[in-house]
């Protein structure tokens, strides 16, 4: 030891150490030269997720599509405003020729960046078919797509194996409907598979100027864009997962557009920050309490109905969402085909009726367990349900699970845990077509995503039929019946579709969103 120490004095050592530490700190700093251009009109917005891909054919999260909407074109897009619908985007015309054929004609002059030429029907064919050919996790969004026939540079026909009405609201205007350049993607990936976070060409009003994981996405105007000029020169999207952190970022002026949590909504409405506009939207999510029909304790429908009637949904929503969410009448939210005006069990339930059902079942001192994810909202819901069920003599044990564990609970492929499952608190996201919401409860999904193990031949028959019917009124009746069947089984107590409040600085922008509050950034107008 001495031989090494002697040549170096303690003072010299400390000096060297300090210099080294400073160097390490400096080296660790984000010395990126990609400083955002501060000129022009800049929109600073918050996203709830950090994008994992910019490939529309292989998207993971709905909010990744917010960026894709800006950098690619698609045949149609969601209509901005308060009612769900679609309008033309890259297509000049699109029509249903027959139940399995849809002809489209592209607008001329939409260019891909990087010298990859004009957007043609071949690119449409490539973009749609690659999702199926490459076995993308989201290929189900394309339903029964068979192939696309190219008639000429601008005209093509989408050919389905069987009628698939959700194509109009799920496939075409959302993620998998975005059109990428065949030339660019083949050059980048060889086989047309996913290009992940490195888009080889853009065809939307913006281009991806910079992306730093967990820091920001910067979109800049696409110089080759020939469509309507977007309102902002640049969009900076900051990933802030925590809603409270996002609210503070908004109050501090770090972002100008964000969604906020439901429990902060009243505060923002009563005492809004300067120049702030608060808007409320309803999500497409559906949140329910499920019961495992195959569990011995829940086999008797009277027990299940007792639980349904003992649950007071408004009380739960007061506790978990500060009373800022509306009760759900089923799994299909308002504004979507098939939404029921009211459910079979009223939101408030009826404790006396619940007791009668329990008496009819001849059950006393029933002890059950409920599983949910370990976040504060779900544990609050579970505790409220626990209190409500105690009123009819049912004791409830709450099992909080981390998301990784929770989301495999009812899967037969993941062991035997599904057998012990009793009550479950679940929340599914959705796209604006009832097909998306109802497809998880068919018999084929038992032990996969149908954790209540609900089985109904009639339900399956209606589910198959409903995707082939164009007439929204006829279709709605089918979905009404499907939800009635679910509720009548006693396996479901529908809770809420939650809400999506957003805030933005009205002195800087007019925000434009879908009916569920998702931002349509290319339509944002600078003030």
């Amino acid at each position: 030891m001495k031989d090494i120490v002697d040549p170096l004095s303690r003072r010299a050592f400390l000096k060297t150490g300090a210099t080294l530490a400073g160097g390490i700190v400096a080296a660790g700093m984000p010395l990126s030269q990609a400083i955002w251009a501060a000129e022009g009109k800049v929109l600073k917005a918050r996203s709830t997720i950090d994008p994992k891909t910019f490939d529309p054919g292989f998207y993971n999260y709905s909010h990744e599509v917010d960026v894709m909407d800006c950098i690619y074109s698609k045949l149609t897009r969601y209509k901005p405003g308060s009612e769900w619908g679609w309008e033309l985007e890259a297509a000049e015309k699109i029509e249903q020729v027959d139940p399995t054929h849809i002809r489209f004609r592209l607008k001329k002059g939409i260019k891909f960046t990087g010298g990859h030429g004009e957007l043609t029907a071949r690119d449409v064919k490539f973009s749609f078919e690659r999702v199926i050919k490459n076995n993308s996790p989201v290929k189900v969004d394309w339903g029964s797509l068979d192939h696309v026939d190219v008639e000429d540079d601008y005209t093509g026909v989408i050919v389905l194996k069987s009628p698939f009405v959700p194509l109009w609201m799920v496939s075409l205007p959302f993620a998998v409907g975005h059109i990428v350049s065949e030339d660019a993607v083949i050059k980048a990936t060889k086989d047309g598979g996913t290009f992940g976070t490195k888009p080889p060409a853009f065809s939307g009003p913006y281009v991806l100027a910079d992306w730093k994981p967990k820091q920001y996405v910067v979109l800049a105007r696409n110089p080759e864009w020939s469509g309507p000029k977007p309102g902002f020169d640049e969009i900076r999207i900051l990933p802030i997962e925590d809603a409270k952190a996002a609210e503070r970022a908004y109050q501090a002026g770090d972002v100008d557009f964000t969604s906020i949590s439901l429990d902060s909504l009243a505060t923002f409405k009563n005492n809004p920050p300067v120049d702030t506009k608060v808007e409320e939207y309803q999500t497409l999510n559906f949140n329910w309490l499920g019961m495992n029909l195959d569990h011995p304790k829940l086999k008797d429908v009277n027990v299940r109905k007792a639980i349904q009637w003992a649950i007071n949904v408004p009380q739960i929503l007061d506790a978990a969402y500060s009373g800022q969410a509306a009760p759900a009448t089923g799994i299909i939210p308002p504004g979507i085909v098939g939404h029921r005006d009211k459910g079979l069990v009223p939101p408030e339930g009826d404790v006396e009726k619940a007791k009668e059902f329990l008496k009819k079942a001849g059950v006393a001192d029933l002890a059950l367990a409920i599983d949910c994810t370990n976040d504060s909202t779900y544990s609050t819901i579970a505790q409220t349900v626990q209190a409500q069920l105690s009123q009819i003599g049912i004791s409830l044990e709450i099992n909080l699970q981390d998301p990784g564990s929770f989301w495999t609970l009812g899967m037969e492929s993941e062991g035997e845990r599904w057998k012990d499952l009793q009550l479950i608190l679940t929340d599914y996201g959705a796209l604006p077509d009832p097909y998306y919401m109802t497809s998880w409860f068919v018999q084929a999904q038992v032990g996969i995503w149908n954790w209540e193990r609900f089985r109904s031949e009639r339900y399956d028959q209606l589910a198959g039929e409903a995707v082939t019917i164009d007439d929204p009124n006829v279709r709605a009746k089918l979905y009404h019946e499907m939800q009635d069947l679910m509720e009548d089984s006693g396996a479901y107590r529908f809770l809420t579709h939650r809400g999506e409040p957003i805030v933005y600085r009205a002195t800087r922008m007019q925000a434009v969103t879908r009916p569920d509050g998702y931002p349509l950034y290319p339509d944002f107008m600078a003030v």
């Binding site: 660790g28 700093m29 997962e241």
Partner: protein
């Protein structure tokens, strides 16, 4: 010394290997499937099986762990389940943000706490010592995330002096974005280190060699700086080694509150989504950093204290 270094390196490798192997076992013992999280409700059983095969999850455990360590020898930590990007790229993108946060927090805590501890010891029971005692104990008692939230509300939301979120761009912007998070993390350490330095200093100041130095007429400040502090600082150096390890695991709160990039939040998200390659990679890196930090603190102790050196 060389033998000591070799022993430490061998021990470090063993610790890392054991930690990673244990984690490998633990993460597979708990229920959960990355395929289910990644593919979501849209996945078919065939797609699940395909992803399992792609991730090597269909192979026996021993093959999986051997593949992981084999890849490690080639510097390959695997690929992120979600983005399919190399795990090493993802970790080394995020790691600098956590390191800079920890180092800046520790740096300002040490720079503030050591003089404060010395002064308190020199002016024992004075008003300054008593006030410092109350304030530092309070600083230790308040959790860092509480400090973070209130600091944010005061300096970012109300006064708008400092940014609320993010890590900034470039050196100076990055430094400005570090002020609030490093304040929140470091404030507890100011209290802790100053109490430690004060206690050690009081003990050292009463020792014979210090009394002898005083008897030679050497000024009190010189006695403290030259003869007492190098010995009184030893427990602090040891604690800092452990502290860096502790900060690596606790940085996650601050990263969430300030929406900062970093490996704390990366680990939590990866565990929740059963993103095994990211979990394994981050634990490997953090274990290495913890072992490195404790080894460095032992070596610094040896440099500063001749008695320790003799024992090596």
């Amino acid at each position: 010394m060389w033998l000591y270094l070799l022993k430490r390196i061998a021990l470090a490798i063993a610790i890392i290997a054991i930690a990673v192997a244990l984690l490998f076992l633990m993460i597979r013992a708990v229920p959960g499937d990355p395929a289910a999280v990644l593919l979501g409700p849209r996945a078919t059983p065939e797609m699940n099986a395909q992803l399992h095969e792609q991730m090597g999850l269909d192979k026996p455990f021993i093959v999986q762990i051997a593949t992981f360590f084999g890849g490690l020898l080639h510097g390959d930590l695997g690929f992120d389940v979600f983005s399919q990007r190399p795990v090493a790229d993802i970790i080394f993108e995020q790691l600098p943000f956590t390191l800079e946060l920890i180092l800046v927090s520790i740096f300002w805590a040490v720079v503030t706490a050591v003089p404060l501890g010395c002064y308190s010891a020199m002016r024992r029971n004075s008003l300054v010592d008593q006030v410092a005692g109350v304030v530092t104990v309070a600083a230790i008692a308040i959790p860092s995330f509480v400090v973070a939230v209130y600091a944010l509300l005061i300096f970012a939301v109300t006064l708008r002096w400092l940014p609320a979120i993010g890590a900034g761009n470039g050196f100076w912007d990055g430094l400005i974005h570090l002020i609030l998070p490093s304040f929140a993390i470091g404030i507890g350490w100011v209290g802790y280190i100053s109490r430690l330095v004060r206690a050690s200093m009081l003990e050292i100041l009463g020792e014979n060699h210090v009394r002898m130095a005083r008897s030679f007429g050497i000024s009190e400040w010189r006695v403290v700086a030259r003869y007492a502090l190098p010995l009184a600082i030893l427990p602090t150096v040891t604690i800092l080694g452990v502290g860096i390890a502790w900060l690596l695991s606790s940085a996650v709160f601050i990263e969430v509150v300030f929406a900062r990039p970093g490996i704390g939040a990366l680990i939590v998200n990866a565990v929740n989504s059963r993103n095994y390659p990211i979990v394994m990679g981050t634990v490997l890196v953090t274990t290495f950093l913890i072992v490195a930090a404790t080894t460095i603190s032992d070596l610094v102790n040896a440099f500063l204290d001749p008695r320790t050196r003799e024992k090596l």
